[in-house]
Assembly symmetry: none
């Protein structure tokens, strides 16, 4: 359902909702015993919540669509990721915790290699080290542009972030990455007339980059993608009427949360630390988003056993969450990251909702195949989770008389 519709039904309540996002939770079966990571995990507390709750599989974006971390999170936060699109530049800024201001234009940069004719030889400059990247960013920080501030930040390996700050800047600029080797970088043209000024500034910037990186082969140029501004979306407070907090160790997830107006809580980085942060702020918020990252990292590394053990580690903290006496608990992922694929995937993600009013189904353990026959269905759009959470928290009015 649309945010604008939900908004009209929101009412206040003294209830607390916890959304536990286990990143990349969904998996695929390993060969030995045909169990997925979640099915293989010894997770008695999650199983018990599944048994007392209502379960299913949710689709973060749509059938067959593999979500990036941004869209995957926006979906479970109730924001349709196809409608609420966020540019690559903004995501890069969020990812490294860069404090984007309204009006800033951000772009993702790749250090690349060009030949003497200016043609791209390697779009990633041989994937230079992060250390080298930092040296090069230091050099680029000397570049000055008229009337705007320029920020150059290291992301990782060949990836960096460029931010322009000033008046009347536009994100409607085409990518300069030609997407093919043997071609020249594209000119940073404006996609609409109000982008002409920004395109001209970017062009000047790139000319100077070309000069100052001339003897830095293989990283002798940069390609820019995803020019974008921080979007101006309804906050969670506006959409759902609650005070919300994010407990997440990694910049990307703190960034996405900030984009929709959550308070970002300072937290230690272990799972145990994050639950401690939850306990410490229990009285301050109505809605908590708690993010477990390392399931996804393990999946991306193709490490089935490590993913299992992160799930088990998370499971051991669940009693601490329940001791806080929450009204609604949702456990899911932002997407699947099967160890078998070493990547995000399109497979729908196990989800459970527990509350006193959830109407439990017959699912008695938390796993991909068990959830197929759950009461939430096996193709629940992720954006439907938030209205269900609100309903279970008695935070939605009746519709119509």
């Amino acid at each position: 359902m649309d945010l604008d519709f939900i908004k009209t039904l929101v009412k206040p309540a003294e209830t607390k909702i916890v959304l536990l996002v286990i990143d990349g939770l969904g998996g695929l079966p390993r060969e030995s015993d045909s169990l997925t990571e979640l099915e293989a995990a010894n997770a008695p507390n999650l199983d018990s919540l599944a048994k007392k709750g209502i379960c299913g599989l949710q689709q973060p974006v749509g059938p067959g669509i593999t979500p990036g971390s941004g869209p995957g999170h926006l979906g479970v936060f109730g924001y349709d990721p196809v409608k609420y699109k966020v540019g690559r530049g903004v995501l890069a800024a969020l990812g490294i915790g860069f404090d984007l201001q309204p009006g800033d234009v951000a772009a993702r940069g790749n250090f690349c290699t060009i030949d003497e004719n200016g043609n791209v030889l390697d779009r990633r400059a041989g994937r230079i080290s992060t250390e080298k990247n930092k040296e090069l960013c230091e050099i680029l920080r000397d570049i000055k542009l008229p009337g705007v501030e320029v920020f150059v930040e290291t992301v990782k390996e060949h990836r960096c972030l460029i931010v322009l700050r000033g008046e009347n800047l536009s994100g409607y600029i085409i990518d300069t990455d030609p997407q093919e080797i043997g071609k020249k970088p594209l000119q940073p043209q404006a996609l609409s007339s109000d982008g002409t000024h920004t395109a001209e500034l970017v062009s000047q910037f790139l000319d100077q980059v070309h000069n100052v990186l001339a003897d830095q082969h293989p990283a002798n140029m940069i390609l820019l993608r995803g020019f974008s501004k921080k979007p101006n979306w309804p906050s969670m407070q506006e959409a759902f009427g609650f005070k919300s907090a994010a407990i997440a160790g990694y910049p990307m997830y703190r960034g996405v949360s900030k984009l929709i107006g959550m308070d970002i809580l300072e937290t230690g980085s272990t799972i145990k630390d994050e639950f401690t942060t939850l306990e410490n702020h229990w009285n301050d918020y109505d809605f908590f988003y708690l993010h477990v990252k390392k399931t996804d990292s393990a999946g991306e590394d193709g490490d089935f056993d490590r993913k299992v053990s992160v799930i088990e580690e998370t499971d051991r903290e669940i009693p601490r969450l329940l001791n806080l006496n929450p009204d609604v608990v949702i456990v899911t992922g932002d997407h699947s990251t099967p160890s078998l694929m070493k990547a995000h995937s399109w497979h729908p993600v196990p989800v459970l909702i527990w509350s006193k009013l959830c109407r439990a189904d017959k699912v008695d353990c938390f796993g991909e195949r068990a959830c197929i026959t759950g009461g939430l269905g096996n193709r629940l759009p992720a954006i439907d989770l938030m209205p269900l959470a609100l309903a279970n928290a008695k935070r939605l009015e009746k519709f119509g008389a």
Copy 2:
């Protein structure tokens, strides 16, 4: 998901997808043992694919909607049949390989019998032979109209095709078929003002038909349906980025495939022949649509046992398909045709997707009731099959970073 959205995520891959459409696959239980045609069939190869794959029931158009062959196929091809509407005239033209030009207006014709008062006695003229049809079309080709070319082509039995070619023609003309016996054919009225000219031409044409067929009882008139122009849709290549081929013996299915840019392969008409055609062209395409017609014909005839045996005949060829080592196999129908009803129906259609990445569910045989608890759900929109096929074939990019 919308074609325009999917399109933005398509990437190339060296993978092959086979979509096996068993026409009218879904059925209803017979009284003796409460088994449907598919459940009664001895189909060990389909059962094995279902066991290794992910299953469900798909809805070609929507809940309660009985699809014609055109919409049923467009749905499984990923084109929303409610949005991508195609006229019966155009389908008939494409089906017989008539080279429709932009601007042509096509209509399906039925030779019929009228009495001395002009009332329809038999809407199909006793299903005259195709040979007779050809003789009659030869006669109708002598009809001339001012300023337009007229084409009259035999389809099969009592069915023919009429095409007008000229300037400013419109497809917005009502059917002349009264759909009931004992009534006069309707006048070819325009549905909008720019159709007036065309309606007048059609009216002149039908007057002449009436004259020249006067002594050809029982085929002494024609009824026209589905006036339409060839639509201008994205091709499968444009939408999904692959080279596609259709293996189908019957004109209608070749026609629908051609409309979305598939190559139409010459093929023998038996199921065995069609699989041979698949083998012979295996290296030439990324996507194959293979159509089995006779399940539907048997269902339409109310012949439960014959439908069962066509399913079994299809099943016996499955090993040949698997020997080709496809990356993704989808088996489904374009709609249900329960023998009990002797007609197409609205019942959702069993579907299985097999790939190495499909995330198998617990379904261990291919049947209507077994598929209810499958991982694809039991109300999967048919148009979601193609994005799922692309995902399983690693032909979709991640959405967002």
